[in-house]
Amino acid sequence: MGASSVIGDMTTGLAEQPPLQLFKESGQREVFCGLTSIVWLHRRMPDAFFLVVGSRTCAHLVQSAAGVMIFAEPRFGTAILGERDLAGLADANDELDRLVKDLLERRPEIRTLFLVGSCPSEVIKLDLAKAAERLNTQLAGRVMVLNYSGSGIETTFTQGEDQALLAMVPLMPSSEVDQLLIVGTLADAVEDRLVQLFGRLGIPVVTSLPPRRSTELPPIGPGTRVLLAQPFLSATARALVSRGGQLLTAPYPFGVEGSRAWMAAGAAAFGVAPALVAEVLDPLVERGQRAIAPHRELLAGKRLFLLPDSQLELSLARFLQRECGMELVEVGTPYLDRQLLDAELALLPPGTRITEGQDVERQLERVRAERPDLVVCGLGLANPLEAEGIATKWSIELVFSPIHGCDQAGDLAELFARSLRRRAALSFS
């Protein structure tokens, strides 16, 4: 097991510069599966319930990823398959119907039910699309039942959100209306702020997928400009394009540079004059840079190694290198969708080592050999690396924290600076 190969060079816009170094690796992957996305998706849509159809492992994973049990009755759960369900799929379907009926009786406030496929349900070929269809007929519009797969054999971590949003696309009403559609879960406060700023740029209709209420899906059609707030929404983006949406390409809204370019791309799609864009955004950029400055002092010149995890790695690497002055040792990513990440790749410095996929043991060998000043990694690896004397920033915090936009750029830099600041603050002599 374990393979690593150079799969190609990528020219950056400047022909004379050395290209990015792109490697592909396979082996043990230390990443979450797509079920993990439920942890933030259910918070975004308080009228939706996410029912994983899977095993005790699935239930345990979502619970462990959620960290603490903070809800009396969470809006997610697992229909745990038993031996009887494995013995006969007919029974499994009946059982699922019964369980959904009980659940909805208990939770009458639920408007949308996501049946979430898992590794075991995929392997036994339990057809959740059919189940959703059947349940929709039974429920007669009272609750909308959707399905998608968050299984580890098909999705990593944030791809679960991509699949969930993809499941919602067919339900979006068709409309020719001119609108900017922001796609990807944002913290409510961040979303409000971005909508407000687009308003100042003169873009009157700004909608979001996923919406705050699962039943209030935004429309889609030829007038829709699709702006992805997250770099892991490949399938959703394609589906929106096939419904007539126009996909805008830009770096993602992390840091002031990415956020400005991202907002400017939205503005350009509506023919907003560059002067107005500059008038609205430049003060934000300047302010954001001021907020970053104290963190940049600490981060500049420090060597950074990102392990593959949330799929935000390329965007974060770009931010930390260009705006915080960090040096990139290696940028891991679970998978590389070049169409969605072209704008990010173009901003990475020449020669950057990018690794797609993972062989965790070999990657950790490289971490140990390189002794970076900071490693971005998952929770399973953070304490062991700290114990080896290597500072870490655990990546799951990045998908739970409001980090999008110019106003959050300082906070984003702070998340990385905190690890180093804390180490410097500790002394036992």
Binding site: T36, T57, A79, I80, D85, V123, S151, I153, P384
Partner: protein, 540 residues
């Protein structure tokens, strides 16, 4: 199919991981899909382990399913053996791999692994759970390593008093302590010291800290102590059947149980019972004075503990022990007793019956919460799940059992077993309650205006559910900020709305900072823009 929201136990392969991660020199190759590596964080985060669990996952994906996943298993095994050079190898599968039937154990058996012992684990993921998986793994591992040593049938059983003839001190094994078990690390230390005081040595502690070679020494001990029956029960039974090793079954949690444990141990080993362990006419023994619990419980301040209604839920071992301590040693009234350990349901039912209760055997935390609410206890002794339920119901709670939270792995030594364990239990169960005199005074001054409703104790665990401020009042008129002497700064509705989105626990600080900033800048109106300006200004 059953609906589960929060679970007490993980799948059985997580039990196997607990055994592997507790030991040294053992590696576990787990045939499992991408994503199952989440289990690593249980050890690195909850237990704050400084190394990854010794587990290699095959992390297969959909595209592997069309190919040769069996080959992936073999290459993973070969790579793990080469890299980690384990002294024993566990090979198994998680729920999804069980369905694709690659039979990793059989595959491993066909490989040349340099003669290291290989134990194939079959842990049915669709019918069993974590503790069962842990117990089965410990049993299979010990059995696999010791099978060559099993005496032929008919051979006389070893005499547990043979230490005398051999001219050495008696020695026992402590079986069952593991990572993610409740306070196992500290219990082992406490019990080892306790036994040393009676001239009894500890031969092997397993799985915690043991190497495979240590497991091979298990039969050199005179008896086994089943410290945590959930994990050690099956292996102790097998050692009794195969090696004739007697098992000490009393779990030494609480005063009475610690004394009973020591008496049982002395009996098994043929040791003369020291005078301090002999039961006096009043039922006490001199040794129990080594703990402060009996005196603290008798002291007058504890009078108020009398008849306190307590609801108990946990794994069987800790729930049964807690019921005994609560009812006999602290004078509480047990109003509910239950466990999620179906394997030990019989023992829990018996303990409940003694207290005139019907045991709740369930792994549905909502059923447990409902029973808790119904029983209207004044104290809950439970797992992290019950801690959350109790918090919602506004009832003080102490954690007595896995599943754990990071705070259940304290930095200080904090055992549950033995005399010191009894001290720890007294403190941790009684502190969430109001202290005696305090309760009396609060009752006296309840009607004074300084009295804050919901005040129960000096401990936050006992405070009433937090009343979160709502944003409803802020949407109407601009609220003047009170700045004495310096004119009035006004919050605009959108400024207030922005402020309301900030988490309540830092909102006050943000308001103060923003007003200070507005004053500095000579702003009369704080809108969302000013809020963000201030935010950037105060960024560290």
């Amino acid at each position: 199919m059953e609906l589960t929201l929060w679970t007490y136990e993980g799948p059985p392969h997580v039990g196997a991981m607990r055994i592997a991660a507790s030991m040294e020199g053992v590696h576990y190759v787990l045939h499992a899909p991408q994503g199952d590596t989440y289990a690593d964080l249980l050890f690195t985060m909850i237990e704050r382990r400084d190394r990854r669990p010794p587990v290699t996952y095959t992390t297969f994906q959909a595209r592997d399913l069309g190919g040769d996943t069996a080959e992936l298993v073999k290459s993973s095994i070969a790579a793990a053996v080469e890299r980690f050079q384990p002294e024993a190898l566990l090979v198994g599968e998680s729920c999804t791999a069980e369905l694709i039937q690659d039979q990793p154990g059989s595959l491993a058996a066909t490989m040349d692994l340099g003669g290291i012992p290989v134990v194939s684990l079959e842990l049915p993921a669709y019918s069993k759970k974590e503790n069962w998986g842990g117990a089965e793994t410990l049993y299979q591992l010990v059995r696999g390593l010791l099978k060559a040593q099993v005496p032929p049938p008919g051979e006389p059983k070893p005499d547990p008093t043979r230490w005398r003839a051999e001219g050495r001190r008696p020695r026992v094994n402590l079986l069952g302590p593991s990572l993610l078990g409740f306070r196992c690390r500290d219990d082992v230390r406490e019990i080892s010291q306790l036994l040393a005081g009676y001239g009894i040595d500890v031969a092997v502690v397993a799985p915690l800290g043991a190497r495979p070679a240590d497991l091979m020494r298990i039969p050199t001990a005179d008896a086994n102590v089943s410290l945590y029956p959930e994990l050690a029960g099956p292996v102790c039974s097998w050692l009794e059947r195969s090696f004739g090793m007697q098992m000490v079954k009393t779990v030494p949690i609480g005063i009475g149980a610690t004394a009973a444990f020591l008496r049982e141990l002395h009996g098994v080993l043929g040791l003369e019972l020291p005078a301090e362990l002999e039961t006096a006419a009043d039922g006490t023994c001199a040794a129990e004075r080594r703990s402060r619990l009996p005196w603290y419980s008798r002291s007058v301040d504890s009078t108020y503990l009398t008849g306190k209604r307590v609801f108990i839920f946990g794994d069987a071992t800790h729930a049964i022990a807690a019921a005994r301590i609560a009812s006999r040693e602290l004078g509480f009234k047990v109003v509910g007793l239950g466990s999620y350990s179906r394997e030990q349901a019989r023992e829990v039912r018996a303990a409940a019956q003694e207290l005139g209760l019907e045991a709740l055997i369930s792994d549905d935390y909502l059923a447990v919460e409902a029973a808790m609410a119904e029983a209207a206890p004044e104290l809950v002794l439970g797992t992290q799940m019950e801690r959350h339920s109790a918090k919602r119901l506004g009832i003080p709670c102490a954690v007595i059992s896995s599943p754990l939270h990071v705070q259940d792995v304290p930095a200080r030594t904090s055992p549950q077993m033995g005399w010191e364990g009894a001290n720890v239990i007294f403190d941790s169960w009684v502190h969430p309650l109001m202290m005696g005199l305090e309760e009396h005074l609060i009752g006296m001054f309840r009607h004074d205006f300084e009295f804050v409703d919901g005040h129960l104790s000096h401990l936050e665990g006992a405070s009433a559910p937090a009343k979160h401020p709502t944003a409803t009042a802020t949407a109407t008129a601009p609220a003047p900020a009170s700045i004495p002497g310096d004119g009035v700064i006004v919050w605009s509705p959108d400024g207030e709305a922005e402020l309301a989105k900030i988490p309540f626990f830092v909102r006050g600080k943000v308001r103060k900072n923003t007003e200070a900033y507005a004053r500095e800048q000579g702003l009369a109106l704080i809108d969302s823009e000013a809020l963000y300006e201030a935010k950037a200004h105060f960024a560290p």
